[in-house]
């Protein structure tokens, strides 16, 4: 075991440089797809609508007036078709953006806050589809994590108090006594417990505020990410 630890210290695992994760990547991807569809549709539409030399079959031999009328009709229909395609693509983009990209970004943001110890960053309850279920699970995780932290806090508070009382009994007013080792051990345990409490304090809790003496409901609680 020790050799394995030493080996790892001598040859630490190399961490590949991960590309920076940009916010809104999915939204930009959808936008690029929409713009590409729109541009291609416009280009094709314009090319066909203008007199580009493409003559549909069957129009050879018709009068110029008749051919011009047909071309106009065809141009308008092509233009209308292009507008419809662009509109549908735009609608799909807005739908994907609103129902997929935005909820996913909120979920990513909340998990980021959670990872940083901010348990108050909750997700709103109206996210759609499976993303909503992920959001509910993240909120549940945050609540359960807070319960665990408060349990640790309360139990360490109780333990510290007992240690203090025991220390006082063994060595009243800090006087030297025959149980110096025991007092030293108790002091060390107390420091360990206080270190655990320091870690608890680094978290921003969901709806509870821990003060020096009390555990109180936090009025500023629950700030859903909108």
């Amino acid at each position: 075991m020790t050799n394995a630890l030493n080996h790892n210290k001598a040859n630490p695992p190399r961490v590949a440089d991960a590309p920076p994760r940009k916010a809104g990547y999915l939204r930009h991807l959808f936008l690029r797809c929409f713009l590409m569809i729109a541009l291609v549709t416009m280009a094709v539409g314009i090319g066909l609508a203008m007199d580009s030399g493409i003559i549909p079959d069957g129009f050879d031999g018709m009068t110029n007036v008749g051919a011009a009328g047909l071309y106009d009709t065809l141009r308008w229909r092509i233009a209308l078709g292009a507008v419809m395609i662009i509109s549908v693509a735009g609608g799909i983009f807005l739908f994907l953006n609103r129902r997929i990209a935005n909820p996913l970004e909120k979920t990513a943001e909340a998990t980021g806050h959670l990872a940083e110890g901010n348990l108050g960053a909750t997700l709103p309850g109206h996210l759609p589809y499976e993303i909503g279920r992920i959001g509910d699970s993240i909120n549940g995780l945050s609540v359960n994590f807070q319960e665990t932290l408060i349990l640790v806090w309360n139990q360490t508070e109780n333990a510290i108090a007992r240690i203090q009382r025991t220390t006082e009994k063994i060595s009243p007013n800090g006087q030297a006594c025959s149980s110096e080792d025991m007092v030293a051990d108790l002091h060390a345990v107390r420091q360990d417990l206080e270190t655990m409490q320091m870690m608890v304090r680094t978290f921003d809790l969901y709806d509870v505020a821990i003060t020096d003496n009390d555990t109180l409901a936090a009025k500023k609680a629950v700030k859903p990410l909108n």
Partner: protein
């Protein structure tokens, strides 16, 4: 004889712990709610003998839920289980009409309180 109990707590872990404690003493957990709104609705449906109620929850908190339940049923038996400071909140719990207020991390003491209620 065991009582039928509704557990109200936004933490699934705490609901599980309380449920295990109650079941070990022969009580029957007939429902679980994770917020005050669900608690009020489930109480009307299930009519449990007793409700264990957390205080801080998303949406409707435990105090408001208890007021609504007691407003509909004055005989409702509600015990608050919370990690909030007892000195600060037990008085309000009594004023609402709860039968008791316990620190939820000492939930075994609820068994004693249930027997007394």
């Amino acid at each position: 004889m065991g009582k039928s109990i509704l557990i109200v707590d936004d933490s699934s872990i705490m609901r599980k712990m309380i449920k295990e404690t109650l079941k070990s003493a022969g009580h029957d957990v007939i429902g679980e709610a994770k917020n005050g709104d669900d608690a009020v609705a489930l109480y009307k449906t299930l009519k449990p003998d007793l409700v264990t109620m957390d205080i801080t929850m998303r949406g409707m908190d435990g105090f408001e839920a208890a007021r609504q339940i007691l407003g509909d049923d004055r005989e409702a038996c509600i015990i608050f289980l919370s990690n909030l400071d007892e000195r600060q909140y037990s008085q309000e719990a009594k004023q609402i009409g709860a039968k008791g207020y316990l620190n939820k991390h000492r939930s075994k003491e609820i068994l004693t309180l249930i027997d007394q209620v």
